[in-house]
Point group: none
Chain length 133, copies 4
């Protein structure tokens, strides 16, 4: 199963709304179950450098089927996956990437958000993810 464009655009719309509420312009990317880009939006005033980061966060979350922040914890110096960010053309391993599941629990894609503090990015990504029905 794969995320539809309607679902992806619903996630982006929700994420934009949440980003507006906390007043932080964000880049928001959605990939499908094959980790291929499905939808994207850069809010007015959001960092240009976060285009790539938002996309990489979404890819990373789908590559390993977990929140990007979790990968960050286990890839610190001395930890088991130290250096993993050198794979796949560059991963982003701090918070803001979250897998998206279907109603029956299958992973159908992922959302990546970048533009604020990483906690804000994660909050907005989670809000967007929850908008997918």
């Amino acid at each position: 199963m794969n995320i539809t464009l309607e679902q992806a655009q619903a996630a982006i719309k929700a994420a934009q709304q949440k980003a507006g509420e906390i007043d932080v312009p964000m880049n928001i990317a959605i990939v499908d179950s094959g980790a291929n880009l499905k939808a994207f939006a850069r809010m007015d005033g959001a960092w240009l450098g976060s285009v790539d980061i938002a996309i990489k966060k979404a890819e990373t979350a789908r590559y390993f089927d977990m929140d990007t922040g979790e990968i960050g914890k286990i890839s610190q110096p001395g930890e088991s996956l130290y250096g993993i960010e050198h794979s796949n053309g560059g991963l982003i391993t701090f918070p803001g990437g979250v897998p998206i599941k279907s109603a029956d629990g299958e992973i159908i894609g992922a959302i990546g958000v970048s533009g604020g503090q990483v906690e804000q990015d994660h909050e907005v990504a989670t809000f967007g993810m929850n908008a997918v029905k």
Copy 2:
């Protein structure tokens, strides 16, 4: 001046609608005046390989402020810009990329569409471009 996300999403919405009318699922990308990705949508069933092509068409149209098909004409073997597609990490020089202008004629971004015949891509891109007010 720069395209806003509202304008970019209006262009994508219009392009999706036109693509639906001609029954060809499309990838649609919008870049801003800095040639940086602003918004993107891949319609369900659209070619995976057209994600990159749609983005490169939008970039190419803004890089040179002309329709991508025009660049294609002057970059054929023997023509003056032969080989230009090797620049900028890869250009796409066939139709489907169109600059977007503001009401007063300033270029504020570009749209790139990929997924059908190049004439269809150009038609959908033009329709999306015209939706920007």
Copy 3:
């Protein structure tokens, strides 16, 4: 739907057998419906440079849901998709890449073969594709 490893390995086994019959060592790559590598084999004596070509042929066939040779025809100088090979990090647009369909006609992946004349590559790829049930 997505190709399984069992199906992918059956395709490779069949392709290896056909390549052995025509006595041309081949590189054989299988990607899934998301164009991600699923299985690969390089026969003893096959060209090293064909590792990447076989993989790119499989990706290209899935990117556009058609035989790579078909893309080659419409991307010659003067044709509508001239220069398309500059997209997606490099396409291969000569024969040897073939989509793989499920029993009900859905594309579930693709096979790419490289190592011989392009007609031989296409023959071996088609034989491998037909081994998927």
Copy 4:
């Protein structure tokens, strides 16, 4: 001397079997003595991001003729090879890559495994390596 495809496929088959026993779907890559891809398999349900990691582990193990985990120890911050992962288009320096030797002790290739805990990856890689006669 160089690993044969028969040997590489035997290593993959054994690694698949061991991965099945411990119930962790894995990506398994084999490179030859020239560090070029020889064979590959992604088990159903294995991480997409581990395609590249498995291949890079196999390459890394052959590049330096040692287990990837050993390279990880000497490339931590403050250690002598800190930053080595930036070479060769990206190395992977945590466990899961193991050189493969012929019966007379010559290195003929390497195996890289990714998909579980690094200890599991190393266990499966070692099991696959030992299947090469």
